[in-house]
C-alpha cells in the first residue's frame, strides 16, 4: 500500500542558509509518526517544507500525487492541516471565529456546524470561551484552539509542531490523549514534531530522528524506546 505521505531527497533553505540536506521519510495512512531531534535539527523546517512555507528541492508525494511547487493555500485544500510552532492563533479574533476560519475552504455547511459540536465535545473549555478574544486564552487553551482549528478542516493529515511547548505536563497529556482518540476514531493521520521525545514516543507508532538536516534513525516507537543507546545519544533520556 502506498504511504499517504512520501518525502524523498528533500532539501530546504532559508535564503542562503541550507537547513535540510536530503530527508527521506514516509507516513502510512492512519498512523501517528513522530519527528524527533534536538533544537535546530530541522524538524520545524520539515513541516514548513511540506506546506510550501520555505524554498525546497526534492519530492513530496501526498496521496500518490506530487505536491512540491504548489502554494500553501492549495496544499491546505488537499487536506493537510498545519498547526505551526507558536500556534498561529488569530489573537484579535474570538475563539469561535478562529474555529470558523479553520473550515474556510469547506463547502458543506451542515457538516461544519456538526464539527463545531464535536470539537466542543473534545474541548469543553473552548465552548465556555467561544466569544472570548483568542489572545486572552491561556497557553493550554490556545494550543487546544490551534489543534481544533486544524481539525475543523477535516484533514487527512495533521501536522503538529511542538504541541507541548510551554505547557504543563498534565495539559500536554490531555491534548495528546485527545490526539490519540482523533487518530483512532476519525482516521486522521498525524505527523508530530516534538522535542519532548518521551511523550511523543508514547503517542506515536513510528518515529524518525533528525540531526542537522538529515534522518539518522528510524523505526517503530517501541524499537526506539527500547534501544537504550539510541535514547541516550539522540534523545537525551
Amino acid at each position: 500500500m502506498a504511504a499517504l505521505l512520501q518525502v524523498a531527497r528533500l532539501h530546504a533553505a532559508y535564503g542562503p542558509t541550507r537547513v535540510l540536506h536530503g530527508i527521506d521519510f514516509a507516513l502510512e495512512e492512519g498512523s501517528i509518526t513522530a519527528l524527533l531531534g534536538a533544537n535546530g535539527a530541522g524538524k520545524t523546517t520539515t513541516l514548513r517544507a511540506l506546506c510550501a512555507m520555505v524554498k525546497t528541492e526534492g519530492e513530496i508525494r501526498f496521496g500518490g500525487a506530487r505536491i512540491e511547487g504548489k502554494s500553501t493555500e492549495d496544499i491546505v485544500r488537499l487536506g493537510i492541516a498545519h498547526v505551526p510552532d507558536g500556534r498561529g492563533t488569530f489573537v484579535n479574533l474570538s475563539t469561535e471565529e478562529n474555529l470558523r476560519l479553520g473550515a474556510y475552504v469547506r463547502r458543506d455547511k451542515r457538516e461544519v456546524e456538526r464539527d463545531f459540536e464535536r470539537i466542543y465535545g473534545y474541548f469543553p473549555r473552548l465552548k465556555e470561551r467561544r466569544h472570548q478574544q483568542a489572545g486572552t486564552l491561556s497557553g493550554g487553551e490556545q494550543q487546544m484552539l490551534a489543534v481544533s482549528r486544524a481539525l475543523m478542516l477535516r484533514p487527512r493529515l495533521l501536522l503538529l509542531d511542538e504541541p507541548s511547548f510551554g505547557l504543563a505536563p498534565l495539559v500536554v497529556r490531555e491534548i495528546f490523549s485527545i490526539m490519540r482518540t482523533i487518530n483512532q476514531s476519525e482516521k486522521v493521520s498525524i505527523l508530530l514534531v516534538e522535542q519532548n521525545a518521551a511523550m511523543a514516543l508514547d503517542l506515536a507508532d513510528h518515529a524518525y530522528v533528525i540531526e542537522t538536516g538529515r534522518v539518522v534513525l528510524s523505526g517503530t516507537s517501541d524499537e526506539i524506546k527500547q534501544d537504550e543507546a539510541v535514547r541516550r545519544s539522540y534523545l537525551g533520556y
Binding site: T56, E57, E68, S71
Partner: protein, 343 residues
C-alpha cells in the same frame, strides 16, 4: 571599522573638500543644502530608523532651528556660528518635551501626532500675535556671512566648508553614540520593547531623549539651511518638508549613517531631474522615481549597497568550494536546474 571602509571615507572626504573649487557657485549652494539635509535626515533616522518612533513632523524642528537662527541674526545681531548651539539646545528641549506625551503613542498614533505638529507649524509661524518676532507671512531675510580671516573664498564656498565641518562633527558624534550601549538600547527598544524593559533599559527616558537629540540635529540643520538660503518664511516649512524628510531616510536607508547622505542627494536633486523630464507633471515623475526606488531597493540605497557587498563576498567564498550542490545560486541569482521554489 575595517580598513576598506576607512579608505573609502577618506576618499569621500577628499572629494567633498575638492568639490567647491571645481563647480559653479550655484552648484556649491546646492551641495551645501545636501549637507544640511544630511544632518536633518540623520536626526530623523536616529528617531525613526534606529529607535522605531515614526515622525511625520520633523519639518517643524527644522523650522524652529531656522527661525532661531534668523531671529538671532536679524533682531539681535548674533554671529551666524553662535546661532547653531542655540538652535540645537532649543530644539533639544522642545523635542524632549514633545517626546514625553508621545511616549504613550505608538506607530500610527505617533505618526498622527507628529503629523499634526508638522501641519501646525506654518500656521503658528503666521499667527499674528507672533508676527513681531517671526515676521509673519513675509518672513525674515538674513545676510550670508563672509568668509573669516579674509580667506580667498566666495561666501557660498565658505558656507559649504563650514557646513561640512559641522556635518562631520555631528556625524562622528552620532556614530560614536550608536555603536555603543546607547545604540544597542535604541535598537532593542525598537525591535522588542517589552524585552528591553524587562532587561532594565529605561525605555521612557531613552525614547524621550532620542526625540530630543533627533530634534536637535534637525534643528541645527534648519539653522544652517536658513543661513544658506538667507531667508525664512512660514510656507517653506509646511508638511511637505516633513514628508520629504521621511522619504529621504527611507530611500537613503533606514538605521544607517551613510543613508542620510544618499537620502539627502535624492531629495535635493531628484525633484530637479523630474522637472527637467516633464514640465507638465513633474510631481508625477517624482512619484514614479519614488516607487521605482522602493521597488528596486526596498532597504534603501544603503541596504542595496550592503547586499551587493555581501553577495560579492559570498561569491569569493563560493568560488573556493566545489560546485554541484543543489540550491546554490548562479550568477543571475536563480536556483539551478531541477530545483523547485515553493510558496
Amino acid at each position: 571599522m575595517n580598513q576598506r571602509a576607512v579608505i573609502l571615507i577618506a576618499l569621500a572626504l577628499l572629494a567633498a573638500c575638492a568639490l567647491p573649487l571645481l563647480v559653479s557657485n550655484y552648484r556649491v549652494f546646492q551641495f551645501t543644502l545636501v549637507l544640511v539635509y544630511a544632518i536633518a535626515l540623520l536626526g530623523l533616522n536616529l528617531l525613526t530608523g534606529y529607535n522605531g518612533q515614526i515622525s511625520l513632523g520633523h519639518g517643524a524642528f527644522y523650522a524652529i532651528g531656522a527661525y532661531c537662527a534668523a531671529i538671532l541674526m536679524d533682531k539681535f545681531g548674533v554671529p551666524y556660528w553662535a546661532t547653531l548651539p542655540v538652535a540645537g539646545v532649543v530644539c533639544l528641549v522642545v523635542g524632549f518635551l514633545f517626546g514625553l506625551p508621545a511616549l504613550r503613542l505608538e506607530g500610527l498614533y505617533l505618526a498622527l501626532a507628529t503629523f499634526a505638529l508638522g501641519v501646525s507649524m506654518p500656521q503658528l509661524l503666521k499667527y499674528h500675535h507672533l508676527e513681531k518676532w517671526t515676521g509673519g507671512v513675509q518672513g525674515i531675510v538674513i545676510v550670508k556671512p563672509d568668509p573669516p580671516f579674509g580667506l580667498p573664498l566666495s561666501p557660498d564656498q565658505w558656507l559649504y566648508y563650514f557646513t561640512l565641518a559641522v556635518m562631520i562633527l555631528m556625524f562622528v558624534l552620532a556614530w560614536n553614540l550608536l555603536r555603543g550601549r546607547v545604540g544597542r538600547a535604541l535598537i532593542a527598544i525598537r525591535d522588542h520593547h517589552t524585552a528591553a524593559e524587562a532587561m532594565g533599559v529605561n525605555t521612557a527616558l531613552y525614547k524621550s531623549l532620542t526625540f530630543g537629540v533627533s530634534a536637535m540635529y534637525t534643528g541645527v540643520a534648519g539653522a544652517l539651511g536658513a543661513i544658506a538660503i538667507q531667508f525664512v518664511a512660514p510656507d517653506s516649512f509646511n508638511i511637505f518638508l516633513s514628508i520629504t524628510f521621511l522619504v529621504g531616510i527611507v530611500i537613503g536607508g533606514l538605521a544607517s549613517i551613510p543613508g542620510a547622505i544618499y537620502g539627502a542627494l535624492f531629495i535635493q536633486f531628484i525633484p530637479n531631474i523630474a522637472d527637467e523630464i516633464s514640465k507638465a507633471a513633474p510631481w508625477a515623475i517624482f512619484g514614479i522615481f519614488l516607487i521605482g526606488f522602493v521597488y528596486a531597493m526596498p532597504l534603501g540605497v544603503n541596504g542595496a549597497i550592503r547586499m551587493l557587498i555581501a553577495r560579492l563576498a559570498r561569491k569569493q567564498q563560493d568560488g573556493l568550494r566545489t560546485a554541484g550542490s543543489p540550491l546554490s545560486e548562479n550568477a543571475a541569482g536563480k536556483p539551478e536546474n531541477d530545483s523547485h521554489t515553493a510558496g
